[in-house]
């Protein structure tokens, strides 16, 4: 187990370096003129330009700039945007909102997707199973780009149950966008849960549990559930990454000041430091999430814990 952890940790560091490097290099390669982007429509005089280039280290070679950046990152400093704001501040301001959104989304996935999957598995071949099968096929086919504006139209304008935009976001305002974001993985979670659950229902250990005279609710709720959760937890952890990506669209549509929203803006204004900063944060979140999933996996499955 200890060796496993060390190995996982080393992997994490490698992935982190590789990802930030790729993002940094891509932003560097797409070029554009950051100085002009900074100045907007106004003309920039050569002396101003020279000063700015020096200030931002734009005259340094690529590898030097990347290493400097990495060094700052390791000290918890994400640097400044081209407009001179602290990226740390922007992230500190927008990350909690996105985190709330992600939690609502994951809860939606669990409450709706996993529960429906279990019911479908228990009543395999029944009306619930068949209707949810069709429903999930439809939902899987609808991307967030379509779902978000439609949900906004229906539930904030036609039926004014929720505020149209969430802004800084109190929890209630984040509810609808969170559910929309979660809907993306509800269908997949349901299919996965159903499959995992039915597979376990057919296992030999279920027959043993029943032969012990345990009540059905214990056989299902303890023996089968505990085994079925193993792949579901993995899925939910990985899904967190997909949620972050989905947040760009959802936050855009509902005008939520989260990291997705900031990232979209940074891309539009070609603010390289901000893009790289936000992506680095997302990468860190993703890596930590997958580490937590691996640990949970080991907690849930002793065969892995004692490998």
């Amino acid at each position: 187990m200890f060796r496993y952890l060390v190995r996982r940790f080393l992997q994490m560091i490698l992935v982190f370096i590789a990802t930030t490097f790729i993002v940094y290099a891509l932003m560097y390669a797409t070029g554009g003129d950051p100085i002009q982007a900074l100045a907007g429509e106004r003309p920039v005089s050569p002396t101003q330009r020279a000063q700015l280039v020096k200030e931002y280290g734009l005259d340094q070679p690529f590898w030097k700039r990347y290493l400097d950046y990495l060094n700052d990152l390791l000290h918890g400093d994400f640097g400044q945007t081209l407009t001179g704001r602290s990226i740390n501040d922007i992230i500190a301001e927008s990350l909690p909102t996105t985190a709330k959104l992600a939690v609502i989304a994951i809860l939606t996935t669990i409450l709706v997707g996993v529960t429906a999957g279990i019911i479908a598995a228990i009543r395999r071949g029944g009306i619930f199973d068949n209707s949810t099968l069709i429903l999930t096929l439809i939902i899987i086919g609808v991307p967030t780009v379509v779902l978000a504006p439609v949900a906004q139209l229906v539930f904030t304008i036609k039926l004014p149950w929720f505020p149209t935009t969430a802004g800084e976001g109190n929890l209630y305002a984040l509810l609808l966008p969170g559910i929309v974001l979660g809907a993306l993985s509800v269908a997949t979670a349901m299919r996965l849960t159903r499959t995992s659950f039915s597979e376990n229902q057919r296992s030999d250990y279920v027959r043993t549990a029943r032969s012990k005279g345990l009540p059905t609710r214990r056989v299902v709720g303890v023996h089968i559930l505990r085994n079925s959760l193993i792949p579901i937890v993995t899925f939910l952890g990985i899904e967190l990454g997909a949620l972050m990506a989905g947040a760009i669209v959802t936050e855009g549509v509902f005008n939520i000041n989260g990291v997705g929203f900031q990232l979209a803006r940074a891309l539009r204004t070609e603010d390289t430091p901000l893009v790289v900063g936000i992506v680095s944060v997302l990468v860190i979140i993703f890596l930590v999430a997958s580490l937590v999933v691996d640990l949970l996996y080991a907690v849930l499955d002793p065969r892995i814990r004692y490998e």
């Binding site: 027959r207 029943r210 032969s211 012990k212 214990r218 002793p302 065969r303």
Partner: protein
């Protein structure tokens, strides 16, 4: 089709456990498989009944019907009775039946690795019934689990109680399962091919353990196996099963001495024996019947070396009472017994 060994209208209650004229079919997409076709056998306290037969003959399905763990559907029990202490289990309300299951009658399975839950420790699994079905506290139940592990001779039970099934060897895992089945002090233990998945040397140890436990705890044991070799030392009586029916039943001694059914003789001839070294091992030719399309007459007639037309093809033999509790479902049982056939 009624087995004569126990008349269909005889009163219940003279045996600890009695399966009477049981039928089980599986309704699948491909059709109806008639898996159990009138099985009757009984078990008394303190004895071991071996149920013997090729794979697919319905030994496990019968056991699962006794336990009440058949999935219905696809399984269906159109007919039959299973008496435990005189009460018909098949007529009982589910909650009363569940009370008997695992407590009065418990069962161990062939492959302990898949039959144990991989994510719970063995101590947790052994003590589960004690924790949930009795008033026993968690700690007391765990203590009892260690005692049970000692009872089935798992070395270092105290230190291993928190280990998981995959951390044990095959033989030790089977001992864990046996310990688990004994938790509620059952009166009947059904062992479904308990040694089939194990190495030969370990097989003998597990068989010995089961025999000892059966004697020490004064249980009745149904030992299901497809291996006639393992039952000789352990069983008191043997019921031979073919295509969902007991085709011969006798005490161990008599059956080894002179089988009264050609199928039993085929099984006996296919055991490797030291005194027959060098001679070729006989095997029963042909395959077990297709349960969706059972043959007419005697179900064994397509494979029987002594088949006689037309009777064997047209008429299903009744179970003949040969005295001393011996029965045989062969038209020529008496001739077999006298050694006048083959």
């Amino acid at each position: 089709m009624t087995n004569l060994q126990v008349g269909g209208d005889q009163p219940a209650g003279q045996h600890l456990l009695e399966v009477r004229d049981l039928f089980v079919e599986f309704h699948t997409r491909d059709g109806v498989a008639k898996v159990i076709n009138g099985v009757s056998y009984h078990l008394d306290a303190g004895e071991t009944l071996a149920v013997l037969g090729e794979s697919g003959s319905g030994k496990s399905v019968t056991a699962q019907a006794i336990m009440g763990i058949l999935d219905m559907p696809p399984a269906k029990i159109p007919k039959g009775q299973i008496f435990y202490n005189g009460d018909d289990l098949l007529k009982m309300a589910e909650n009363r039946r569940r009370d008997i299951r695992g407590k009065d009658i418990s069962m161990i399975f062939q492959d302990a690795l898949s039959a144990l839950n991989p994510v719970f420790s063995v101590g947790w699994q052994i003590s589960e019934t004690l924790r949930t079905r009795t008033e026993m506290s968690k700690d007391a139940a765990m203590k009892r689990a260690i005692e049970l592990m000692d009872l089935v001779k798992i070395p270092g039970a105290k230190t291993r109680v928190k280990d998981y099934p995959h951390q044990f060897s095959g033989g030790m895992r089977q001992r864990v399962m046996i310990a688990m089945s004994l938790a509620m002090d059952p009166k009947v233990l059904i062992a479904d091919e308990p040694t089939t998945a194990l190495d030969v040397t370990v097989q003998a140890q597990i068989m010995d353990l089961l025999a000892d436990l059966r004697r020490d705890l004064n249980m009745g044991m149904i030992l299901i196996t497809h291996d006639l070799g393992v039952v000789a030392d352990v069983a008191d009586r043997i019921a031979v099963m073919y295509a969902g029916r007991i085709i011969e039943h006798a005490d161990v001694h008599s059956i080894y001495k002179q089988p009264a059914h050609p199928y039993t003789r085929g099984l006996l001839d296919s055991i490797p024996r030291l005194d027959h070294k060098g001679t070729e091992l006989a095997t029963i030719k042909g395959l077990p019947p297709n349960l969706m399309r059972l043959p007419t007459g005697c179900k064994y007639h397509p494979r029987c070396p002594y088949v006689q037309k037309p009777i064997c093809v047209d008429e299903e033999p009744r179970s003949l009472n040969l005295g001393n509790g011996r029965t045989s479902a062969c038209h020529f049982a008496k001739e077999m017994l006298d050694g006048n056939l083959g």
